[in-house]
């Protein structure tokens, strides 16, 4: 086959997917950048030019920066907890466990369920007087807690739901990694007489470094978009106590129809997320894999 024939095939494989994605994503992104320099709102819905006015305004928008800081705290917090729990669960049902296929299946189920629908169920569970959460905690002498009506607790509630929903994803990625590990290092450790804890620290954990970074990064990326759970569970409330950036931009753009300003917020949000996630990825890689690779 000639060089030109191969070239045709090369492009025939790649282009349909690439062009589809470019067409669906690129236009919206460029358009958002353009809109962010306009004063488009409910009163003047047009693409005029106001320059950097929106960006100057968001600089002083305390509510935006607070929502961003809150999102950062919640994302990093939930992902770390999910990593620890997910790793522990993966180790528990890795081998030497009765009915491990059953427990693996059970542990996967929450990530298959629709987050907003489960948040609706969680909302009834966390209902202060009619929900089972406070009722059951009362049996062991705790509570009642204002799950959804006090600022701090609302954040905790969102985090609990996120942990319930997405620890299974972490579990899935880490267990898949564990299952694919080579056997020899474990045999060597067993011959050296290493106990379970030493085997974990010296063999399992280092071997899992790359998988761990991958899993943490995937979850961080997804967690950085957190807003649906907030929308259903607390509507950002009470007040703005559990508002994340995505939810705030949603209010500004699609509820107040302050579209130009919301566009500038979303571009800023996107850029900050890309920069932060890149830095976190590099730092994690250096910490867990070290200078190698």
């Amino acid at each position: 086959m000639g060089e030109t024939g191969l070239r045709r095939y090369k492009l025939a494989f790649l282009l349909p997917g690439l062009l589809t994605l470019l067409a669906i994503i690129l236009f919206p992104l460029l358009f958002t950048i353009r809109v962010s320099a306009s004063g488009w709102d409910a009163i003047t819905p047009e693409l005029n030019w106001v320059g950097g006015k929106n960006y100057a305004a968001l600089w002083a928008d305390v509510r935006f920066w607070q929502s961003l800081a809150r999102l950062g705290g919640m994302a990093v917090g939930t992902v770390l907890i999910q990593y620890v729990l997910g790793f522990a669960l993966a180790l528990l049902v890795w081998h030497d466990v009765k009915a491990r296929r059953f427990f693996r299946l059970l542990f996967l189920i929450p990530m298959m369920t629709t987050p907003v629908i489960m948040s609706v169920i969680w909302r009834t569970i966390l209902h202060e007087s009619l929900g089972p959460a406070n009722d059951l905690l009362y049996l062991v002498g705790l509570g009642p807690y204002p799950w959804l009506t006090s600022g701090g607790w609302a954040v905790v509630s969102v985090m609990i739901v996120e942990i319930w929903q997405w620890t299974p994803f972490m579990f899935l990625l880490l267990l898949a990694g564990l299952i694919s590990l080579p056997r020899e290092p474990f045999l060597a450790a067993a011959i050296d007489g290493a106990g379970p804890i030493r085997t974990f620290l010296n063999v399992t954990f280092p071997l899992m470094a790359t998988v761990s970074i991958g899993a943490i990064m995937i979850r961080l990326i997804e967690a950085s978009k957190l807003m649906e759970t907030v929308y259903v569970l607390t509507s950002g409330g009470p007040g703005t106590a559990s508002e994340t950036s995505g939810y705030y931009i949603y209010i500004k753009g699609l509820r107040d129809f302050d579209i130009g300003y919301a566009a500038s917020l979303s571009i800023t949000y996107l850029v900050i997320m890309i920069v932060l996630l890149t830095i976190i990825g590099k730092v994690l890689h250096r910490a867990l894999v070290g200078g190698r690779s």
Binding site: T113, V116, G246
Partner: protein, 280 residues
């Protein structure tokens, strides 16, 4: 293994299992309640604590107080199914190309192209929501299934490419070279030889597309209103202060049911080690 160790191990498993199933059990028992079983404070056991009734389940099919679940169900199936199918087809093609050929356009090479595909997952939905809204309005596709399918392809295609590239990389190149020596064109080699060999990868990628498509709420919520309504939007619409909890629970349970099948499939592939190659 000491007894203590085993005890702790199985306690930990039991504790997490309880945490996992609690919301489902609560939804299940709530779905059989009526107002009496809800407003008097939390109750758990039918017959003993409240008189079970089928009101919630009947409301799914147009009975009072709930939503008619049939239309959203069909819409959700069509939109998620089509978007997943399109993403798998386009994604496998692109992934195969990226796995087998070298692309170069200026400074853009294969790793950059792969990164471009995967990096789309970073995009927060809210960044795209407003332009999607205007774009679909302009194309006259707002509140339509086709409009949503387009949007979902953008969400799912990166997942398909991400999983399939690694899968194809694990299939030895000799296999396609043999096929081409036998006179196949690259495309024939892909369809006849590579695809059958990468069925597990396609299934895994398909499952992930189904999960993320079926579970999306935000785009369905902002881009459709009355003609088209997907399940998550229909269920969340019940989420108000006067919500009939029994209808809510019944519709929630029936909405997440199909994905339990997906869980079975994913667990199979996980335990057989097939997933390991796909997700790193």
């Amino acid at each position: 293994m000491s007894r203590m160790y085993l005890f702790l191990k199985y306690s930990a498993i039991a504790l997490w299992s309880i945490f996992v199933v609690t919301p489902f059990l609560w939804a299940l028992t709530t779905s059989f309640k009526t107002a009496n079983g809800v407003t008097g404070g939390p109750t758990y056991l039918p017959w003993l604590q409240y008189e079970p009734s089928l009101t919630g389940w009947k409301s799914l099919f147009g009975g009072g107080g709930g939503i008619d679940i049939v239309k959203p169900y069909i819409d959700s199936l069509i939109v998620t199914g089509s978007a997943s199918l399109i993403s798998i087809v386009l994604g496998s093609l692109a992934a195969y190309g990226l796995s087998r050929f070298t692309y170069k356009a200026g400074f853009v090479k294969n790793p950059d192209l792969i990164f471009f595909f995967i990096s789309q997952r970073i995009m927060p939905p809210i960044v795209l929501a407003i332009p999607f809204f205007l774009m679909l309005k302009w194309l006259d596709l707002l509140d339509s299934r086709i409009g949503l399918i387009l949007v979902y392809v953008a969400l799912l295609l990166p997942i398909a490419v991400w999983i399939m590239v690694d899968f194809f990389n694990n299939i030895p190149r000799q296999i396609d070279e043999m096929a081409m020596l036998d006179g196949c064109t690259p495309f024939q080699a892909f369809v006849r030889v590579i695809l059958p060999n990468s069925l597990p990868g396609i299934i895994v990628a398909g499952m992930f597309c189904l999960i993320f498509g079926w579970n999306d709420f935000f785009f369905a919520f902002t881009l459709t209103f009355t003609d088209t309504q997907l399940l998550p939007v229909a269920v969340v619409a019940l989420n108000s202060s006067v919500t009939p909890w029994w209808s809510l629970s019944a519709s929630a349970l029936i909405s997440i049911a199909p994905l339990l099948l997906v869980a079975f499939v994913v667990e199979r592939f996980l335990s057989h080690g097939t997933l390991a190659g796909a997700i790193r």
